[in-house]
């Protein structure tokens, strides 16, 4: 079980503009990732880009696994050009992952944009417990994984900025309404998405005294906890996203 391994590209499917679903076949035995874990992926063997890129586990397919990623810059754009048979060097699974010994009966998952990448993995694992899933996106075609979610029997509540799919507006507001009207008290939140969404969620959680966990992003060099490059400010001091995170209790994060 080596956490430094090679995998061959089985498929690298473009879903919508700049968004890809990458299916990888490890060439060695690897550790099974938990939802919220991530991999550091070397996009090629060159010296520029120099560092591996962190990408969350999206789906575990009994040995093969999938990453869902967006072309954001130099590294991910090289990744977008990968063809079946290409070999990638990968480190992982890394990080703590979402806590799974959840007592609460009311599991609420919130995914903003590409936040669905790790949240899907969690949804799949928890699907027997009927989690509610709230997905926010900018516009209809950026609502991802709708078919995959159907496959696992989850029907998400959707909100888009332009109202082209689901409710119009912010997914956190939609969630707020839902909680208000549902009158359930022991909700537990699991979320991933852009910082503004997570901040809004954290305000909501504080107000309604909700328990919750969020997956954060930060620039990373090592992914292993040694460079101290990936910290976020928490109530307990600086914590490493790659090691103590990427999943943190929502109330621990000190936003700027």
């Amino acid at each position: 079980m080596n956490r430094l391994f090679h995998a061959s590209v089985a498929e690298n499917k473009q879903l919508i503009k700049n968004h890809y679903l990458l299916t990888l076949r490890p060439l060695e035995n690897i550790k099974k990732p938990k939802p919220g874990n991530f991999f550091m992926v070397a996009v090629d063997n060159g010296l520029d880009p120099l560092l591996k890129r962190p990408i969350s586990i999206h789906r575990w397919l009994d040995g093969d696994f999938q990453l869902l990623y967006r072309v954001a810059g130099k590294g991910t754009s090289i990744l977008g050009g990968k063809k079946p048979g290409d070999i990638l060097e990968i480190l992982g699974p890394l990080g703590n992952g979402f806590p799974l010994n959840i007592k609460s009966e009311n599991i609420i998952l919130v995914a903003g944009g590409l936040g669905i990448a790790p949240i899907f993995a969690l949804a799949e694992l928890l699907r027997k417990r009927n989690p509610s899933l709230f997905c926010g996106a900018r516009t209809k075609n950026e609502v991802l994984c709708t078919d995959e979610l159907k496959d696992i029997g989850i029907d998400p509540v959707v909100a888009t900025d332009d109202g082209s799919s689901g409710k119009k507006g912010n997914i956190v507001n939609v969630l707020k309404e839902h909680i208000k009207t549902s009158h359930v008290t022991d909700n537990i939140l699991f979320a991933c998405g852009p910082e503004p969404m997570l901040k809004a969620l954290s305000t909501l959680a504080e107000k309604l005294n909700l328990q919750g966990y969020i997956a954060l992003e930060q620039h990373m060099a090592c992914g292993l906890g040694t460079c101290l490059g990936c910290v976020v400010k928490t109530t307990k001091g600086y914590k490493r996203v790659c090691k103590e995170g990427p999943v943190f209790p929502i109330e621990d994060i000190l936003w700027e």
Binding site: R3, L4, A42, L47, D48, P49, L50, L51, K52, E89, L91, Q218, H219, M220, A221, C222, G223, L224, G225, T226, C227, L228, G229, C230, V231, V232, K233, G237, Y238
Partner: protein, 307 residues
Amino acid sequence: MAKKSIDLTVRIGKLKLKNPVMTASGTFGYGDEYAEFIDLNKLGAIVVKGLSLKPKEGNPPPRIVETPSGMLNAIGLQNIGINNFIKKKLPFLRQFNTPIIVNFFGDSIAEYVRAAEKLSASDGVSALEMNISCPNKQAGWSIFGTDPKVTSRIVTEVRKATDRTLIVKLSPNVTDIALMARVAEDAGADAVSLINTLTGMAIDIKTRRPKLANIVGGLSGPAVKPVAVRMVWQCYKAVQIPIIGMGGIVSPEDAIEFILAGASAVAVGTGNFIRPDITINIINGIRSFMETEGIKSINDLKGAVQC
């Protein structure tokens, strides 16, 4: 067996290393995270993350930015403090048959001296590496290691405080690196290590803010290698004490280049982030190169560049 006949051992002060490849401070944590990927017994030495008397919180994020063939970091010397290191990390490290070199720093000369004393009283600390590329509180936070007078004073004082092998880690952000090496030698250093990071900056053009919260950071990685090799070569001509060369080493060839320039040993920094087992690949690659070229001892390569 061919392997047996090749001598990779090198000496740095009182230390004898089984091979010339060590880790660079701040890029290998306290060693424990890497034990999963490599046999720590195989390393020439382990240099741990820089320590200060008290734990240090470090800089706010973002702390790192990738740059062309390199990276900038502004960790801000976050560390658990010497006491915690001795209690929590050293017992693990002592298990291995590999010298532990402790990188340390302070805010003032007095702090450096106290840190050196404390570390020298600890079993399992094989050598000390002074990081003088840090701000001097007493002198308005200017960098200790860019002023030869300050460097001379601080090395002299620390030298008095320890009988361990003392390595002075030089800042490359100076006009004359050979002068700094000579100053360290004259003040009693057993070895110098170089280069620490080159000061750099990156700006996000959309937000118009520096990409690092600390504004500036230290450039490392393959991008800086030509500067580092040049500085090692300059120092080799200037001093008698051994040099530990580093800056952008990611392959056996890179390591050999530093040794030819005059380094007795090398350290791998940013390379550990590219592949956690890179040090072992480098050690094996050096050995293969020597086999192929018929070189018996690594010391035959030291400073062997023909100018």
